[in-house]
């Protein structure tokens, strides 16, 4: 794939006319998906695709496009030339864009992570027997993901990575569930079977009779997977500089009204884990680490070069939408083995579901509890709880009501596949809250 991208890049860049600036982006995957229900194969297949993105700038005007690539150089060069001509015809008709950013980065990078993945045809045979008679539903995804970026200034980046993930739910006959993701780059059958076995053991806890709790405010522990969902909300009307400037951010209060979160809470964009590439669509390379919220204070936001130009601030080479690509929350001091004792009496939430802003500007989030969630009394798990709706403000539960943070960060890989297999992960600990509002 890199050879194809390089050859298209060299050819197309050589055909640019005076005054034209061009950025090219490459995205692709060679993936195997196996959808599982009741520990059987529901659907199975492969997807082999690649796309080429264009960012054409001429005389202060900009237009973008993308095309599917076939993998055949001659055919793809023909498609690429056709797309460039279409963009040329369009760009002259558009109004001037005062905030456009010329692709000027000359940086280059290359990262290729070779993994050890099972053959597609072998996947049912290696996954399913270990499930035994447990009710498991989930999705296996494996294969290679590609990303590339190049521009007419000479910048060039390539990132390719092999990976696999089995994201699954285990379900008891009374419909209580445990969620887990087994992911990596080197397949290890014994490690997989041990991981799955651990999940099955956890499922046994869910066979206790469930407890129905009433709406109200509870002492609450939210495990890392749930915290990951909350942090992901900061990418939607959160840490984006543009969204703060345009009055569409939950963090506007921190910028404009000097409101703070708890001094325990520190959030950064941290690429050191290596899950996601540091280069963006313009080929700009972000700093390895940017502190966004430091001990409860908004210290930086994610700033794309376009936003930087519009508002006269410094870019930290965020992606165009200014969402987090490598979110990381700083751990605290609560030991994992002390979580239940410190919680005392309250609810333990392993996962959350379907989060949305119920009042974005006010910082209020609603969502559901899901999977292994328990009622805890005097430091002991008493029973799984019926799923509850929560509705609470980040300025409360990540503010004065944030009591402690666990000392261990967990890696929560993004197993999303809407626009192809995601590469990122949220690295975060669990949080203990003095009070959390459950509403329905």
């Amino acid at each position: 794939m890199e050879k194809l991208f390089k050859e298209i890049n060299q050819t197309i860049m050589a055909e640019l006319r005076d005054g034209e600036c061009l950025g090219l982006g490459f995205g692709g995957e060679q993936s195997t998906f196996t959808r599982i229900n009741a520990a059987k194969v529901r659907q199975i297949g492969n997807v082999d695709e690649a796309d080429l993105g264009f960012n054409l700038i001429l005389n202060g005007r900009r237009t973008t496009g993308s095309i599917s690539l076939s993998g055949d150089l001659k055919e793809d060069l023909s498609r690429a030339r056709g797309e460039l001509e279409r963009l040329r015809a369009e760009v002259v008709q558009l109004p001037e864009d005062p905030y456009l950013v010329l692709p000027e980065s000359k940086e280059t990078s290359r990262s290729e992570k070779q993994g050890k993945l099972p053959d597609a045809e072998a996947i049912p045979g290696i996954l399913l027997p270990a499930m035994g008679d447990v009710d498991l539903t989930g999705i296996w995804a494996s294969g290679r993901v590609f990303q590339g970026s190049a521009n007419s200034a000479g910048g060039y980046h390539w990132f390719a990575s092999d990976s696999f993930s089995l994201d699954y739910s285990l379900i008891t006959p009374s419909e209580k569930m445990v969620k887990a993701t087994y992911a990596g780059t080197e397949w290890d059958q014994a490690a997989y079977e041990a991981f799955l076995g651990d999940s099955i053991t956890k499922l046994e806890l869910m066979s206790l009779p469930p407890k129905k709790i009433e709406p109200g405010a509870y002492r609450t522990f939210i495990a890392s997977a749930g915290v990951s969902d909350i942090l992901s909300m900061f990418s939607w009307g959160g840490v984006s500089e543009a969204s703060i400037r345009q009055s569409e951010s939950c963090l506007g209060k921190m910028r404009n009204e000097n409101v703070k979160l708890s001094h325990l809470f520190t959030l950064s964009e941290d690429f050191s884990s290596g899950f996601a590439p540091r280069f963006n669509g313009n080929g700009e390379v972000a700093p390895e680490k940017t502190l966004l919220i430091t001990r409860g204070e908004l210290t930086h936001t994610l700033v794309s070069s376009r936003t930087a130009k519009e508002y006269g601030v410094e870019s930290n080479f965020a992606a165009e939408g200014e969402s987090m690509r490598a979110p990381s929350m700083t751990p605290g001091s609560l030991k994992e083995e002390d979580i239940l004792a410190t919680l005392g009496t309250g609810v333990y939430l392993s996962n959350l579901h379907y989060l949305n802003w119920s009042d974005m500007i006010g910082g209020r989030i609603t969502g559901m509890t899901r999977y292994a969630c328990f009622w805890v009394e005097d430091g002991k798990i008493v029973a799984p709880i019926e799923n509850m709706r929560f509705d609470d403000s980040i300025y409360s539960f990540l503010g004065d009501n944030l009591e402690a943070i666990t000392e261990k960060q967990h890696i929560n890989p993004d197993v999303g596949t809407y626009d192809g297999r995601e590469l990122s992960a949220v690295v975060c600990p669990g949080i203990l809250l003095k009070s959390f509002s459950l509403t329905l």
Binding site: F33, N46, S68, E121, D359, N387, T439
Partner: protein, 476 residues
Amino acid sequence: MDLQAILSGIDVRADWIGLRYVKENTGFRLVRDGKPEANTRESKQGIMVEVLVQGQFAYYGTSRLDMPGIQAAAERAVKLATAAAKFSLHSFGVDARPVAKGSYHSPFQTAADAFSPGELSDLLIKATAELKISDKVVTTNAMARTVETESHFVASNGSDVDQKYLMVSADYSAIAHEGTVTQKRTDGGLLAKSYQAGMEVFNEADVLARCRKIGAEAVELLSAEECPTGTMDLVLAPDQMMLQIHESVGHALEIDRILGDERNYAGWSFVRLEDFGKLQYGSPLMNITFDPYVENQFASYAYDDGGLKAEKEFLIKDGLLIRGLGGMESQMRSGINGVANFRASSWNRAPIDRMANLNLEPGTSSHDEIIAAVDKGVFMTSNRSWSIDDYRNKFQFGCEYGKLIENGKLTKTVKNPNYRAISNPFWRSLKMLGNKDTFEVYGTPFCGKGEPNQIIRVGHASPLCLFEGVEIFGGA
């Protein structure tokens, strides 16, 4: 591309083989505060090769469109199906893919290329100028989205279906700010005005008039009272009913969810297979139809991606659940009557049960009769927040704009209106149903479901509705 010739040339041993070629061009233009933010077109094309071997379907989606590439894809799919067959959840026969022959072309008055990029940009710039009705409007957005889709499906059982669509979505929004208050209004919710239509949607006089109203309402909300808290009557506009139907009826009735396919992602359903024909889902006023032929509605079509012919069907009749949202595979697995809704988001995904046009049929009450029937309540319009549990029971939805209803009259405007309830009790509280004059058609390009994930377009239409005794509340 001669898909029939390619199909004839494929040499593999399979009980059934199908090819679905999809080409889709998605144009998107966004103007913010009079300046261009995005002018883009995404052009995707590829083929989904699907085979049935030993009762197991397998697929290979490829953007390689030549004969060797498609032959290789078919061979790999056969190997996958063979490997998976002894672990199959369900062993299918060839009748899971009915023979289908036909075509569908979506209706439009004005072709996509009738507006040049420059003309459309100019209109969007004018729209943002109209949205800014005062200095209190701090951000304005105008967006236009056009999708041209060509789908051609052929199969070894003789199926040959050609479907072409032109779809247009638009949205105009204003954010107003004063002091510590910020409020936003859109044109009925983000891209809720999504239709199978042409560029006639961008009638300048109509667009600019709507923008002035949107800007004015954003400013009006700045000085509005907070939505009251309490249990009272709720009147929902059709643009919010779109979301209400989608989340608390549509997803709950998807048979693949009921069968557990989605338990690791979108979730299960409170509806069980044994509920069909027995469950009183809502009040007797409630009639829900799957209707693939509503003029201009966003998800109209003639055949689903498995080849099943689309027909109008009642899913809920007089409040009683009678039919599910399931294509042939789900119908065979469950024994429940379904509809032609086995759909894929594009060539690179296998079909699953999806909503299409799912509508609440109109009743007999006028707008004024509904308002007059409320002593104390809130009217809400335009969705801005949505969340529901994995069984499709406990939901909480929020709207952009509300009006108090007091003693049978609409009175003060209220901001941050929200409500929460549980699906069945909520639908059973449907007290009055608007007539055809209150009936409006909407759609959204953004329904997410499936593993691997798929975003698909759906349409929903509804009259004005009155629900009694609902938990209502305001903002932070």
